[in-house]
């Protein structure tokens, strides 16, 4: 279980996260939704142990990170806990293939060729896998970044808007793939604006606004919101689409 309790984070006087608590169970899909600028990405970075909250507690499979830290930070369990960011951060001097393989090779993982072949097949990457990131489209880079994380066989996979540049067919493929990962005991935490995915695949939906969790529950909350703020948010999205 990946759990956040009462997480506060800010820059100076500017509060970004204000007492956020949530849990990401293994074998489940947790979808985080909310308006832009509400602290979703900051929360993901905190969950990925890349930011140090001002207060609160993070727990990853029993290892507790209590903030503010009283001593040196215990080692982060990367890549058991890993993330794919909206900006992807693919290494520009390596081909997409090497981007995917290098971390796994350095970790001495076995059976990588078969894993890579399966990912290439699953994400239709055969045509561009040997291109450099700057020679690939954003959608192709998104698929490669996701594959780089998946080949490491994480227990918790944090994804920040990784389908923003994909066409509908590719989105469906990737989301189906992610849905199927539930059976492999991977806890998936995904920030997305795709409410359709949240409705059909999420075991848990969390709605954030102004740095706080306003409402959470099963995907039923998207059909039957309990708070005015979520209702407004869903109404705006429905009107826009």
């Amino acid at each position: 279980m990946l759990q956040a309790d009462n997480i506060h984070f800010g820059y100076g006087d500017r509060k970004i996260l204000n007492g956020v608590s949530l849990s990401v169970p293994t074998g489940g899909v947790t979808v985080l939704i909310g308006p832009s600028g509400t602290g979703k990405t900051t929360l993901l970075r905190c969950l990925a142990l890349l930011e140090k909250p001002q207060s609160g507690t993070l727990t990853v499979d029993g290892q507790t990170y209590a903030y503010p830290l009283s001593g040196p930070m215990p080692p982060a369990p990367w890549p058991k806990l890993t993330a794919v960011f909206q900006q992807l951060f693919l290494w520009p001097h390596l081909t997409l293939c090497d981007n995917i393989l290098m971390p796994a090779e350095r970790r001495g993982m076995a059976g990588l060729e078969a894993e890579l072949a399966a990912l290439i097949d699953a994400f239709d990457m055969g045509d561009f896998i040997h291109r450099y990131p700057n020679e690939a489209s954003l959608g192709q880079r998104q698929r490669a970044a996701l594959a780089r994380a998946l080949i490491l066989k994480p227990s918790y996979l944090l994804l920040d808007e990784i389908t923003s540049a994909l066409d509908v067919e590719q989105i469906a493929k990737i989301l189906d793939y992610l849905k199927n990962l539930r059976g492999q005991s991977i806890g998936i935490f995904i920030i997305t604006h795709l409410l359709g995915f949240a409705r059909h695949a999420a075991d848990q939906v969390v709605f954030m606004a102004n740095g706080e969790v306003v409402e959470s529950g099963t995907s039923d909350i998207l059909r039957n919101p309990q708070t005015e703020r979520l209702f407004q948010f869903l109404s705006v999205i429905a009107a826009a689409s």
Binding site: P92, H93, P103, N134
Partner: protein, 221 residues
């Protein structure tokens, strides 16, 4: 006398001058690349101490003309200290300092500005620090710095001509002395230009080879 005749007649003098020029280059390039890189890395990791020192010294050495520094170290500094140093060493020290601080500042800036997101991606992929440095940071920095460093080293080769002004018997001074004997400026300075082309050609070809092998346009379309 043709260019070829002059080269043939004075080839020993030219070769001795070339040897001195190449020795100067060896000292300047080695000191600049090794010590400059070390200074730049230390400066990037200690921005308030070594970083400020590197920035300040680099500014001073780029603002003050190299010739002024060379003359200052050769004449007033030695007179004030009451010592006499072989001009070769004075020239080596001066040009090495210029190169060390130029390379140091280039490396410091590149390391400081290195995009943190590539390191973050390495961390969340579970790469140890050693792999992040050797597999991600160094290759990207090397590709980024290579063209500038090579241009700087060719510039330092040209700067060795200043050493002739404090009586270092490098190739330009040899050419001047031969010219004062035979007075064939067109042929002699053409020969000198050919010498520099011959010396610069391998450096330029090596630079082009490295560039072709290791540098790519990283910009995303």
């Amino acid at each position: 006398m043709s260019v070829f005749d002059i080269l043939l007649t004075y080839h020993i003098a030219f070769l001795q001058g070339l040897r001195v020029t190449l020795m100067l280059c060896a000292v300047i390039w080695t000191a600049g690349l090794v010590l400059g890189t070390a200074l730049g890395v230390v400066g990037a990791h200690s921005p308030k101490s070594w970083g400020r020192f590197t920035r300040g010294a680099s500014f001073a050495f780029s603002a003050i003309p190299t010739l002024v520094i060379l003359f200052w170290l050769h004449y007033p500094a030695q007179a004030a200290l009451g010592i006499v140093i072989d001009p070769f060493y004075t020239a080596s020290l001066t040009l090495s300092l210029v190169n060390i601080f130029a390379v140091g500042e280039m490396v410091r800036q590149a390391v400081t500005d290195f995009p943190a997101q590539y390191i973050i991606a390495g961390r969340v992929c579970g790469l140890p620090t050693r792999d992040i440095v050797t597999r991600i940071q160094l290759p990207i920095l090397f590709r980024q710095l290579l063209p500038g460093l090579l241009v700087q080293q060719v510039g330092m080769l040209h700067a060795t001509l200043f050493a002739s002004l404090i009586s270092v018997e490098e190739i330009f001074r040899v050419a001047q002395r031969i010219n004062s004997t035979v007075y064939r400026p067109i042929e002699i300075y053409t020969a000198l230009a050919v010498f520099f082309l011959i010396v610069c050609l391998p450096v330029t070809m090596f630079a082009a080879l490295l560039k072709k092998r290791f540098t790519r346009d990283f910009s995303e379309r």
